[in-house]
């Protein structure tokens, strides 16, 4: 008897038209043009071509833009001399920078009190206890920097915007492709995968992250954890990020996770995690797969499967063997629950 599950093929058909035809999908595909229901298989069915881009309208826009450019250039030529060079944070730096404004208090940038200006690459904003600063991160989002904080701009470009939170706290809201926005802290690096989160760094360099939308990866000291919305994690100097937990996870579960972070081979801690874990804790269970031994991975997979039937395309044996592809696919599946908890 074959182990092949025909549902795998049906999912392939939904994905890219490959595999066995899923009759429900084919029927719905057939709605878009006559005769397409079966021909759509293997991408032979061409969709209707969209209308062409209206060149005439575009040319009119270009012409209008050219006229505007001529007018602006004329005005610039008549502008007076700018005077002496501005302060480091008072104007855009040649190497790029982020615009910021104080919404409370009197923050410092470049050693001076600056109410509004540009955070240059290599520069830093420092806030006092009652200060609050809003930083515009290119065109992808904003950072709200709280009191007693220091935020530096490490670099900005098409491939990455990187900042460093040396101390204090911030709230970041970003809408951008994954990995474009990165914040270093003394004990871990937060890599944005499209989201909103709070990040805090204490005087000793330890950090805390809470994600309110999307997903953040925390990296440091050889470990990477995935923290989706509704979850948090702590980072420790010299140890990197700990296992994430749901914001409303039971305190006893968080305690057991902390023990596992110190010693991933602690059998009593693993027993307690598996006993206490409920559906919301799948984020903790999945992240543990990367640090525990194969036998423990099997027990974790079984607990996850008991909480939410895993998809047919993720095999237990592959997860137990530590196959990164299988573990990644399991994460992709679980992300649906993490990011859309309202969907059954």
């Amino acid at each position: 008897m074959s182990d092949h599950d025909p549902r795998d093929d049906r999912d392939d058909y939904l994905w890219d038209g490959g595999g066995a035809v899923d009759p429900d999908v084919a029927r719905l595909e057939g709605a878009r043009s006559p005769g397409c229901a079966i021909a759509a298989r293997r991408r032979r069915c061409r969709r209707a071509r969209p209308r062409r881009w209206p060149y005439a309208a575009a040319a009119a826009v270009v012409a209008a833009a050219a006229v505007a450019a001529v007018v602006v250039l004329g005005l610039l030529r008549r502008a007076p001399d700018p005077g002496p060079p501005p302060l480091a944070c008072a104007a855009p730096a040649p190497a790029g920078g982020f615009r910021f404004e104080a919404t409370a208090g009197a923050p410092r940038c470049g050693g001076d009190i600056v109410a509004a200006g540009w955070l240059p690459v290599g520069g830093a904003i420092e806030t006092g206890r009652d200060d609050h600063v809003r930083v515009q991160v290119a065109d992808i989002g904003q950072i709200e920097l709280g009191g007693d904080s220091r935020l530096a701009l490490v670099g900005t470009g098409a491939a990455e915007h990187r900042l460093a939170l040396d101390r204090g706290r911030l709230h970041a809201r970003v809408s951008a492709p994954p990995r474009l926005f990165v914040i270093d802290t003394p004990s871990a690096t937060a890599v944005d995968l499209g989201c909103e989160y709070d990040l805090e760094v204490g005087p000793d360099g330890a950090g805390a992250l809470r994600v309110t939308s999307g997903v953040v990866e925390l990296e440091g000291h050889g470990r990477t954890v995935v923290v989706p919305m509704g979850a948090g994690a702590v980072t420790r100097p010299g140890a990197g990020p700990g296992t994430p937990w749901a914001i409303d996870a039971a305190p006893a579960l968080r305690g057991a996770l902390a023990r596992l972070d110190r010693d991933p081979a602690d059998p009593a801690a693993l027993d307690e995690v598996l006993r206490l874990a409920v559906a919301r804790d799948s984020v903790s269970l999945w992240n543990l797969l990367a640090v525990v031994a194969p036998a423990a991975r099997g027990r974790i997979f079984d607990r996850l499967a008991a909480l939410d039937t895993p998809p047919e395309w993720v095999l237990r044996d592959d997860v137990v063997a530590g196959d990164p592809t299988a573990i990644a696919r399991l994460r992709e599946y679980l992300e649906g629950t993490w990011l859309h908890p309202e969907v059954p």
Binding site: P34, W53, V61, D139, I140, A328, E332, L339
Partner: protein
Amino acid sequence: MPAAPPSVVDLVIAARRGDGAAFAHLYDRFAAAVHAVVLARVAWQDCADLVQDVFLIAWQRLDAVREPAAFPGWLMTIARNRATDHLRGAGRAPRASADDRVPEPAVAPVPAAEVREALAAIRTLPEAYREILLMRLVEGLAGPEIAERTGLTPGSVRVNLHRGMMLLRDRLGATAAGEDA
């Protein structure tokens, strides 16, 4: 060997320099996805004009995209906003489906009424599933193409297709059961 198609980033950079042909390439590549995003919200017969509006806005504001890689998500946001504005102006409920005058082909494998029913069912799904299912089922985009057009990861698209299709089967099944009763 045929040359690889230009990347979205290259096309955006060229279009920002005023290259109309590059923008036409972007239009060809993204029109179906924009149509799906709009169709998730407004009646079928209004979609074609709205798609044109979305690209006209994009062309006028292309300089605002400082990261060319962010173009797909930026364009989809314009499409969602334009569709919402259209509904606001027309004073119509966003999920109205009775207005959908679905084109009736000469030899239709699926009756237009059934298409309307499927469209109405898709519009009741969460947004994350709605747009992606329309891209796959109505626009005929494959999963990897949807990922490129939306800026989502292929894994995320695959999972959302899978879950969205499960929900859609349930909703269409429930409708059919209700009619049979």
